[in-house]
């Protein structure tokens, strides 16, 4: 063997050995966990308080849209809440694969009217979204909300796996939690719950409806339901809360299914105080705010008033 040949052959074997060895040492005991994505702060959606206007207005009318318009006017009209050019995200309660008559989801007529109001006030972009329990497509279709909202000019957006942002809820129980981005990347947030009975939290109205912005292990929140609702309500301060009490689900909530469990109340509430809204709303279920754990805890945490009359209450018949 020639010297040149010897050097060439042993050289390339040595080079490969060196690369193999150094690769092994380079990756030895490396931490491979990728850095957690940045945690997002929730923007503030509230508008300035106006002591001359009520914090809660209730209107009754057989036509849900009329009832809604009257209560919205009483609380200051849409112009108080929406500025031209803004993006608005509306969060109705779209939890279950049920029809509107079954009162498991927010009345689609109210959602449609809300969209039209926002667009009339000059909003650039109106999004309607929710994280449903049953399949999102079926739920949005059969609740009638997709149809009404799209017809009124909104975008109906369903949640996909990568549509969540890690948000800092800064609560006692809820610290960081995945939140659907449509509820963060927006200028205004309108909460549109429906009044329903619930076996654990007595009622699901405004504050409980906020569960629907969360991803992750949502079904474990029931283990401390009052605290988790209040943490969430402290974190999300909606611009406006519109409570649908046109049909009220008295039993079999939150999913219902039987028309015998539905009371027709023909009422719509508009509120800037979500605790007051819950406290008045729960009366449709034959309860009082003082009897409901999360409403009591919310007042204690300074989120609003159980005695809704103190929040400024107006009733239009």
């Amino acid at each position: 063997m020639e010297r040149r040949d010897f050097l060439k052959k042993s050289g390339r074997a040595l080079a490969l050995a060196a690369i193999t060895g150094s690769t092994g040492f380079y990756f030895h005991n490396r931490t491979t966990t990728t850095a957690a994505g940045s945690v997002i702060e929730m923007p503030r959606f509230e508008v300035a308080r106006n002591p001359d206007l009520p914090g809660l207005a209730l209107a009754r009318h057989e036509n849900p849209i009329e009832a809604f318009r009257k209560s919205l006017d009483a609380i200051g009209g849409i112009g108080r809440f929406i500025e031209p050019g803004e993006r608005v995200t509306i969060k109705p309660n779209v939890g279950w694969d049920r029809t509107p008559e079954q009162a498991a989801n927010t009345n689609p007529l109210l959602v449609g009217e809300m969209v039209r109001q926002c667009l009339a006030a000059g909003a650039d972009d109106v999004i309607v979204s929710d994280i449903t329990c049953n399949d999102a497509r079926r739920t949005f279709i059969r609740s009638g909300i997709k149809d009404e909202a799209e017809r009124a000019g909104a975008r109906v957006l369903l949640a996909a796996d990568d549509d969540f942002l890690q948000a800092d809820l800064n609560g006692e129980l809820l610290t960081t939690w995945p939140v659907l981005k449509y509820f963060i990347e927006t200028d205004k947030f309108i909460n549109m719950p429906i009044v329903k009975q619930h076996s654990l939290s007595s009622c699901t109205i405004a504050m409980k409806n906020l569960y629907g912005i969360l991803g992750g292990r949502r079904n474990q929140l029931h283990q401390r339901i009052d605290q988790s609702i209040v943490d969430l309500a402290a974190f999300v301060r909606p611009t406006l809360t519109v409570v649908d009490a046109t049909r009220v689900l008295m039993r079999g909530g939150p999913q219902g299914g039987s028309l015998a469990d539905v009371n027709i109340e023909n009422s719509v509430l508009c509120a800037t105080d979500q605790v007051a809204a819950d406290s008045r709303g729960v009366e449709f279920l034959g309860l009082r705010g003082e009897m409901v754990g999360h409403i009591v805890l919310a007042e204690k945490s300074g989120l609003g008033r159980i005695d809704y009359r103190q929040a400024g209450y107006k009733e239009i018949v």
Binding site: D97, N134, R137, N219, Q223, A260
Partner: protein
Amino acid sequence: MTIKTVRNLRRILQILFFLIFFWLILQTNFFFDMAPEENGQIVLPYPVSIALEFDPLVALNTLLATGTIYKGLLWSLVILIPTIFLGRFFCGWICPLGTLNHWISEIRSERIKRKGKNKIESNRYKKYQRIKYYIFLFFIGASLFGVLQMGLLDPLSLMARSLGTAVLPGLQAAAEASLSWVKSFGIAPLSAAAEYLYDIFSGIFLIYRRAHFHAIISIGLVFVVILALNRLYTRFWCRGICPLGAMLAIFSRYAILGLQKNSGVCDGCNKCLLHCQGADNPDVGSVWRQSECVLCLNCQASCPNGSIKFKFFPEQESTPANPGGTQKVDITRRKVMLSFAAGAATVPLLRSGDMFEVNTNPRVIRPPGSQRESEFLSRCIKCGQCMRVCPNNALHPTLLEAGLEGLWTPVMIARIGYCEHTCTLCGQACPTGAIRELTTVEKIGNDEIEPNRIGTAFIDRNRCLPWAMATPCIVCEEWCPTSPKSIYLKSEIVYDREGKAVEVKKPYIDPNLCTGCGACEYACPVIDQPAVYVTSIGESRSDRNQILLERKRNKS
């Protein structure tokens, strides 16, 4: 029209029928733009399983197994009757699996056996091509005694199953993984470009909720092996295995279209053999086999001097120099009887085991509207359309849970997806009536009609939070879709480790009301092995698999 034009027409139709088949599979799903009817029921806008209804093998076997031809299966005559006159045009012009095999076979190979003289040799009729007749007769023998196994190897069922439960979910997983891989570099324009590509892709192939299927490996592997066999022999599947091909071959016994050979002008170039798809000996001097020919027309189109021609009523007298078309299928009477008997013999073998109706797996929860198990197994062709259409990914192909006989038939795995209360899509998609078509009222019941039940839920009190861990929960009750709810709660004071009193609501199941939909099991926060779970007992389709002597009426 010259022969080359007709061949091009065949190529175009192959592409077209393949795309139609693929499009129908893509449409076998729940879409966000579907509109409910007046009564709230959602109905599929297209007959998504219509391709399977054109399959004569499905029609014949379900006819033998059940004594009826279900709904759209009469369409299969549209394929079968022209076959009697023309031969296996379906295999060469229409069949999507045949087309796929055709394309893959035509990819150039480096293997010496797939080139030149060797390829010509491999395209001559071979004895392995008889195997498909044995397979066909085996399935017929089994079907005659009520066991339907043809779905395992029927090309359309196999194609629908493989695309729907293995290929498309695999593509979706690959697309999602590629997207997040590209995004992980953190280069903004690159991520944007990837997103853009992904959006185009997702508009065509991807569904809203990525499906995960049980037994996907077994289905995917079979499909890959079938495609890979094309690298050994052109259209190995079509020549040697396909039971539908065998059936059509037998029905082409009296075909009036055939190949006429003219030895006078042939110079023996063998180009006809080089391009032959069916291995039916088109060359002058050997015996042409009608039963193997898929009418691809490559032989006539590549013949330089016009010595072979397809024509109606070809001359059939046979001389050594000029053999006429032989119409006979190359199987002996003894082998016919043997394969038929083997098929019949599997019936007692499969059904005398314990898995069939005696020691059934409690987790074999059939889709809503399913027939009782023996009837179900004599109808299900394992096409997977119910699994593909299910919006909740609730239905999955079995492996051996329902016995060997039930391989790849649908069961619900509630942990992955539950049966949506008012959804009736699986029955709409089923081409053979193994799953009956239900109306919403038949599914959920009302004051007069009992709902369709697929099982009953049970609480595992050792794992349930209120029962075992002094912790409030009630998620199962919240999710229960019946009205009134089948899960009811009783408040009770329990004591935690420190002796502190905690008020919890303990869930109970009312078997009078439970339909076994599995929503509770799906939602239970005890994820790995849920504290509430469904088993098949109480299912409407069975007389035997019941708990209650009588059900109290569902009065709300």
